[in-house]
Point group: C2
Chain length 479, copies 2
């Protein structure tokens, strides 16, 4: 029997760590705050990458690669940026056995180095827009780390674009926000709130930071991707200028946006249950686990022959895997692949072979409800349909869960109760001091100001201070 995981209902944080390690998604590295992404977790990340990368390329972006090391002086050029990142930097002081004249920082994000190169590459309006993305590792020295959610080194993609006008930069930032939301909802099956960050929560140096926020299984919020309209701040700091059509020098308008391996954490925490992971079919490394069941050599011959027919029927239309290891019992395998979150299980025993059928079991529906016998001949179609149903069901379940735990409190007492229990969608004054007080009093932060406001602010008051309201915001305890 495999080592048991802590039930999610008992201790969410411990369940999270247990699942990651037992499912072999990741492991701790010998360097504090760093992680190793194991093959099962990395394949999930590769599927995330493919789904995002396809969307980036369809919208005209190209990939490139910028250096890991950034001269210390570069990061100091944008005032808010250096203030935001200074406490988190890893610094290289020695190279090739000698002390460096100028220390190098390991990129925490690449606005500075990319800004430097854009200033060199961009000369004319004909060079615009520049639409570049890179997939890479970044390092931010973190005090409290958690696998996938907050690690000293993490993998991500960072898009960096340059435009001729404010409008184009704003359009780009919004396009990416929509792209991220589409990915989250249709690939990861996680409903998200699209919004923008308050002044105190936005990216250091940005004009506007758009964000997608999801609700995890413990009802806390997770920021799952951000898209920043940087205005001309970085263009001025790094001298990114172009000659416009009337031959005048103008500063560019830039954006940056990113999604990281944190997305893996979001998938685990949104869909998982006491038995372990539940992976959305569109991203699952293995969509269908096939388990042949037999007691003797005669049965084995029949069952393995049927297994070959099933494999041929499924072909390359789905990602399937046959677990034919003889060192493990059928019961152990059922538990193992449930823990690993494989959306669909196909069982094949002698009685099924005799009936020319297979038993199909859904990971997202418990016991008998998710189990059915289907004729071998119906195989590829029924599997396709079931995978689509599971994908839709996971999204629906997560959506209903979020709706059930989102409240619109009428006063601060109700607000405090709401953030104990999930999201509070509340009117607020827009003042940073009030926002900070809310955090100190309730441990809830301002996650975002939703783009879709459900009511007008006119005539409303701030949930905490009673001053005239500026808009609605989502407050929640967050990762």
């Amino acid at each position: 029997m495999a080592e048991a995981i802590t039930p999610r209902s008992q201790d969410f944080a411990q369940w999270y760590t247990d699942v990651i390690q037992r499912a072999e998604l990741a492991d701790y590295a010998p360097v504090r705050g760093c992680m190793v992404i194991r093959p099962y977790g990395y394949t999930l990340w590769e599927n995330i990458q493919k789904a995002l990368d396809r969307r980036f390329k369809e919208t005209g972006h190209q990939n490139a690669y910028f250096p890991l090391f950034i001269p210390y002086s570069f990061i100091q050029k944008e005032a808010e940026h250096v203030e935001g990142f200074s406490p988190q930097l890893a610094v290289v002081t020695h190279g090739g056995g000698e002390k460096l004249e100028e220390p190098l920082i390991v990129r925490p994000t690449s606005e500075a180095i990319i800004g430097h190169l854009y200033s060199k590459w961009i000369k004319s309006y004909r060079d615009l827009p520049v639409l570049i993305n890179q997939w890479c590792n970044v390092v931010r020295w973190e005090m409290r780390t958690r696998l996938f959610l907050r690690t000293t080194e993490f993998l991500w993609q960072e898009g960096h674009t340059a435009h001729a006008t404010y409008e184009e930069a704003e359009e780009e930032a919004r396009l990416i926000l929509d792209l991220y939301a589409d990915f989250a909802e249709n690939e990861a099956a996680i409903p998200v709130v699209k919004g923008y960050k308050s002044e105190s929560e936005k990216f250091p140096g940005a004009l506007v930071s758009y964000t997608i926020e999801g609700m995890m299984g413990d009802r806390r919020a997770l920021q799952m991707g951000t898209s920043h309209n940087l205005g001309q701040n970085f263009a001025r700091a790094f001298d990114i200028q172009y000659l416009d059509r009337s031959n005048q020098l103008q500063y560019c308008w830039t954006t940056s946006w990113g999604v990281s391996t944190r997305m893996v954490g979001a998938i685990i925490m949104t869909h998982g249950d006491d038995q372990g992971l539940i992976l959305p079919p569109r991203l699952a490394p293995i969509q269908v686990i096939i388990i042949p069941i037999y007691k003797n050599e005669e049965e084995k011959a029949q069952v393995m022959e049927a297994t070959d027919r099933v494999k041929a029927a499924l072909g390359s239309s789905v990602r399937w895997h046959v677990d034919d290891r003889e060192a493990y019992t059928v019961g152990w395998k059922f538990n193992e692949w449930e823990l690993r979150g494989v959306p669909l299980r196909i069982e094949l025993g002698p009685r099924d072979v005799a009936n020319k059928q297979v038993i199909v079991a859904r990971r997202d529906l418990p016991g008998k409800e998710g189990k059915q016998a289907i004729p071998e001949t119906a195989l590829p179609q029924v599997v396709d349909t079931l995978l689509a149903e599971i994908q839709a069901h996971l999204f629906q379940k997560a959506f209903q869960f979020r709706e059930a735990h989102t409240q619109q409190p009428i006063d601060y007492t109700a607000f405090k109760a709401a953030v104990e229990n999930g999201f509070a969608l509340a009117f607020w004054c827009g003042d940073a001091a009030c926002e900070k007080a809310i955090q100190e009093e309730t441990r809830a932060t301002n996650r975002c100001i939703p783009l879709a406001q459900t009511a007008e602010a006119r005539g409303r008051t701030c949930i905490r201070c009673g001053q005239p309201a500026k808009e609605q915001a989502v407050f929640a305890r967050a990762y």
Copy 2:
């Protein structure tokens, strides 16, 4: 008119740098020895990655990700390994504003950190083999750098496998050698010599280092990929043990292997000419450049309509791009896409439209020889055929070039002449001192001992010292 590049025939090194910058493959970074890979160069790298990654997965390997930072003490555990890499290390001494208790090194390669984790993951023979690869960045502090060929930071893949027996590790190392050679010859169109390194040239800590060596356009050798049988050296240093079938603890046998962004340099230097790059169709970011030609609005309407038909005919079977920019002349575009090495050009003018034809021009054949008119209706098939012909022709040309510049010298005088002019395949004694003397006297290094020896060593003598010969080796000046 675009800035001209130095002709290859005039100054190979300058041509190389010019081509990379003018074709926008890469640029220098503000940190010494580092480079930026621009979208055109990165798309080429992505195509290299896809072709290799498919081969890795087909042979049972999975991707994972290990940390960038390695505790300094780890790299010291394997004696030859630390000696080999110490002078090249970049060291992080500060993190999060504080001095670190133990400095961290930025990985120059990951045997040490991966060895540590394998010792934790591998318990029984049932866990073997472990077949893992990672795509990542590595850092080696280099004194003399050259874009793609030798940079302080570079991108690569590094495979790390663990096995139960010597035989299995050896089989893996050879499998990967063959896989690399297959990739080089059939995707990059570069003929390679498969061999193994001499004792003094092998990877620090390896039992045997296999290599593929190519001949560049200046007749110098380039090491294009290596595959190491590490024996039990790293398993002993990092305590990677497993319980065998009779419940005895055994050390694993490990391998490691890698191909880097240097491969881009190999492609440039093998196929390019005075006009710029020539990219092998299977890896080219753009396989077909379509250039509409017109003088007035009436012609434009006709030509653009025909262009749409051509695009539809080609569909997604090839990677095509239409250059319909009006700010540039047709002549400029021809030069530009020749410089960027696009294998095939389609020209579409009013006369072609009238004749329901297109003009197709091959990048690998000069002037009229590579140009033909083909009927629109023949389009997708003829393009497919031509791309295959170009791919084969590039390989043949490179193969003949290498053969023409490989000699089997009969004495040391002839040897010296041979290495001035290309490869010398010569018998040698196998002694490191003699090998070093050859290098000092001729600037040629021992590239490898070819697996396919063309003659027996018995009765032969060393090309330099006259002692009995051990085997044939390829000597050449190298990058």
